[in-house]
């Protein structure tokens, strides 16, 4: 049975369709990534899954409960790490966990044991009595994650879990998320970081204009949409090289800013052609999820 099953899920604001008949299945134990540019409809989709936004059409079940009709029962087994930290600034770390647990009706020795585990998990055991404003951004995010786990949820939803964190703090969050994946919890996350999605997610849905453009495992998405090799070229005279030599050697090229992206099955002749253009710099790499994302959602800047 799917953890999330959406059929024809639709949301309109002021006559504008923000989520347009989306079908979605999230399977037990998988880490599912929802990607899309700003305004693609992923936040609204997520809010509907969480029971925070009533859909205008379609059917939605989360962990077997129709949402929003039985959102309360669904929430008993749900953990949420919101994009914006909503920790209680007046409480210490451990009081935050205890208070959040009280919303689930949890208390007593079993809760205290659970909280001790979670403090260890979040690497905050020595900061249990610290106030929230004393914590770094990474610590706050780890506390938000620990808080989301206080009810031992079957499904954990994370909205941009590492946005705004430094690289070290991101690594720590990833490591913790992998522990949750190893525990066979189901994870749904949104992110703007393609490396994050590629690292963590078993399957990825790419959304734009309220629709899901494609869903699959990352490697299959890359194979389906992008040639295996990418050569990125930039530098003075790059247009001349493209016109004279590059264009026929690549199956597809894209210009983004001052860089030309050449997509090809055979990169050797392309790289050799660059030998006579010493002022150009290039990077040869395998195709990745970012290439898929940009191809499917276009290159326009979304603001």
């Amino acid at each position: 049975m799917a953890i999330v099953q959406a059929r024809g899920l639709t949301k309109r604001y002021d006559g504008r369709t923000v989520v347009d008949a989306v079908d979605l299945d999230v399977l037990p134990g998988e880490c599912f990534g929802l990607l899309g540019p700003n305004g693609a409809g992923k936040t609204t989709t997520l809010r509907m899954l969480l029971g925070m936004t009533p859909p205008d059409g379609g059917r939605l079940e989360v962990m077997g409960f129709p949402v929003p009709a039985r959102a309360r029962e669904m929430h008993e087994r749900l953990g949420v790490v919101p994009q914006q930290d909503s920790l209680d600034p007046d409480f210490s770390v451990i009081e935050n966990l205890r208070t959040y647990a009280s919303y689930f009706g949890l208390r007593g020795d079993r809760l205290e044991a659970r909280i001790a585990d979670l403090l260890g998990f979040a690497n905050l055991a020595t900061r249990a009595d610290a106030r929230i404003h004393e914590l770094s951004g990474g610590m706050k995010r780890r506390l938000s994650l620990a808080r989301a786990l206080v009810n031992s949820p079957q499904l954990v939803v994370l909205d941009e879990p590492t946005t705004g964190l430094d690289p070290q703090a991101r690594q720590v969050i990833w490591q913790r998320l992998r522990l949750l994946i190893a525990e066979k919890r189901t994870l749904i996350l949104t992110t703007h970081y393609m490396d994050e999605a590629q690292r963590l997610c078993d399957r990825i849905a790419i959304m734009d204009h309220g629709r899901i453009l494609d869903v699959d495992v990352p490697s299959a998405l890359i194979r389906r949409h992008i040639e295996p090799h990418v050569v990125e070229v930039h530098g003075a005279g790059v247009e001349d090289w493209l016109a004279a030599r590059g264009a026929p050697l690549a199956e597809r090229t894209e210009t983004i800013g001052e860089t030309i992206f050449c997509y090809t099955g055979d990169y050797v002749p392309l790289v050799e052609s660059l030998g006579s253009f010493p002022r150009l710099e290039y990077l040869h790499r395998p195709a990745n999820l970012e290439d898929v994302f940009l191809k499917l959602t276009g290159r326009d800047l979304r603001e």
Binding site: L50, M52, T53, P54, A71, R72, E73, H75, E76, L78, V80, P82, Q84, D85, S86, D88, P89, D90, F91, E95, T99, Y100, S102, Y103, F104, G105, N151
Partner: protein, 267 residues
Amino acid sequence: MSAAPERVTGLMASLFALRWIAVWKRHARVWRKLAGPALLGNIGEPLLYLLALGYGLGSFIGELQGMGYVTFLASGLVCASAMNTATFEGLYSAYTRMAVQETWNAMLYTPLDLEDIMIGEAVWAASKSLLSASAILLVATLLGAVQGPLAIGVLPVAFLTGLCFSGLALVVTAVARNYDFFLYYFTLFLTPVLLLSGVFFPLDDMPSAIRFGAELFPLSHAIALVRPWMTGQPLADGAWEHVAVLLAYTVAALSLATHLCRRRILR
């Protein structure tokens, strides 16, 4: 409003399910940490009014309706402080939890729903009203401004007054875009209520338009209930009507606040 009956039954169901106690306890735990300034604000100001106006102005007035002015004023100030305490809680504190600290959002991801939050807010605000009314009752008793043990009946009325005004404040919070917005509410509603509900002077000799207006204010009904108890006068007829007015305001305001918050948050 077609959603009204639905909102009322939703709030009733939530009231009896008792999940709101977790919301109440959360607020109480925060309050315990910051109790010093909060208590000072809730109790200090009405006490200053009681002392300054009661004795200062009172020395010019002498007797009013057959009692000392301090006695008259104390029974009004108990209700006014219940009103103010719940109003501040329902405006500034609730707005902070809703729009700044995201406390409500965090709660909504758990088995708590919006009705639980609203009832938790209202009962918490009323609890604070009860606390400040108790403190003023105590001080008024020590000053000899309370006549007889029936004055203890003030406390449930203060609680009900707190529920009523927290409900009204939550309606304003539900549509507020920033803290400054609350000044409209203070100037256009709360201050007239404070001045024209019989806290500081009796309304009997006022023009009939003002007396009629005061009848609409919930605070005048709270005072009509409380004043006889605190001043040792026989309770006028229609005590239950005053209770009914306060209850009706409470139910209507909380239902409307829930409706508006649902439109704002769960959209």
